[in-house]
Amino acid sequence: MMEILIALFWLAGALFALLGAVGLLRMPDVFTRMQASTKASTLGLGCLLLGAALQMGDFGSLIRVASIGAFVLLTTPVAAHVIARAAYFADVPLWEGTVLDERRRHPDPRGEAEQRPGGPG
């Protein structure tokens, strides 16, 4: 019973990781690529961690696996946000099918941030 559960978790995790990688390869844009890879790989890694925790079973590895999971769950959205922000301000071209770009309505979004003294870089 436990082996079937572990097998299901590991196969689902590997499948979602592969889906994230395929999305990274086939999406047309930096932002859509990041969207695909970040979410799918987080879910895949969560499934792999659950399967590994069930397989190992002792307390020390449970703590380590839980800390990896919590860390990845916290840092992946932050990293994705920072990359998206950097890519947008570095004028990476959007996909030609993009419908809405709300930042373009403001004439110079960077000028306002640069005038603030001691603002974040």
């Binding site: 082996e3 572990i6 097998a7 590991w10 196969l11 995790g13 590997a14 499948l15 990781a17 592969l18 994230g20 990688a21 395929v22 990274l24 390869l25 930096v30 690529r33 990041m34 890879s37 970040t38 790989s41 987080t42 895949g44 890694l45 792999l48 961690l49 399967g51 590994a52 925790a53 397989q55 190992m56 002792d58 020390g60 590895s61 380590r64 696996v65 800390s67 990896i68 860390f71 990845v72 840092t75 992946t76 932050v78 990293a79 994705a80 920072v82 990359i83 922000r85 950097a86 890519a87 301000f89 570095a90 004028d91 990476v92 960077r110 640069e114 870089g121």
Partner: protein, 88 residues
């Protein structure tokens, strides 16, 4: 049964690593490469965790923790570099 499943899982993760390395080499812009490198880090963490659970060597999990940390810091550093390089 766990042996067969671990083989299949590790092979699939290896294919995913190869696919994301293709994007890492091909990527037209620098943020594409940063995203691909981030995904490579996450996939390597998953690979190491499955390998640790399969072989039963608990100390390997510490390496996975360190790789997750360094991957996050590297991603933040590269993103800051992209933004600041554009400003000057």
């Amino acid at each position: 049964m766990v042996d067969i499943v671990a083989h299949i899982t590790l092979a699939t993760l290896g294919i995913a690593l190869l696919v994301s390395v293709v994007r890492l080499v091909k990527g037209p812009s620098l943020p594409d490469r940063i995203v691909a490198m981030d995904l490579v880090g996450v996939l390597v963490v998953g690979f190491i965790v499955v390998l640790a659970a399969w072989t039963g060597v608990q100390a390997t999990l510490d390496a996975a923790i360190v790789i997750a940390l360094i991957g996050f810091l590297g991603t933040i550093a590269y993103a800051t570099y992209v933004e600041r390089g554009h400003r000057e």
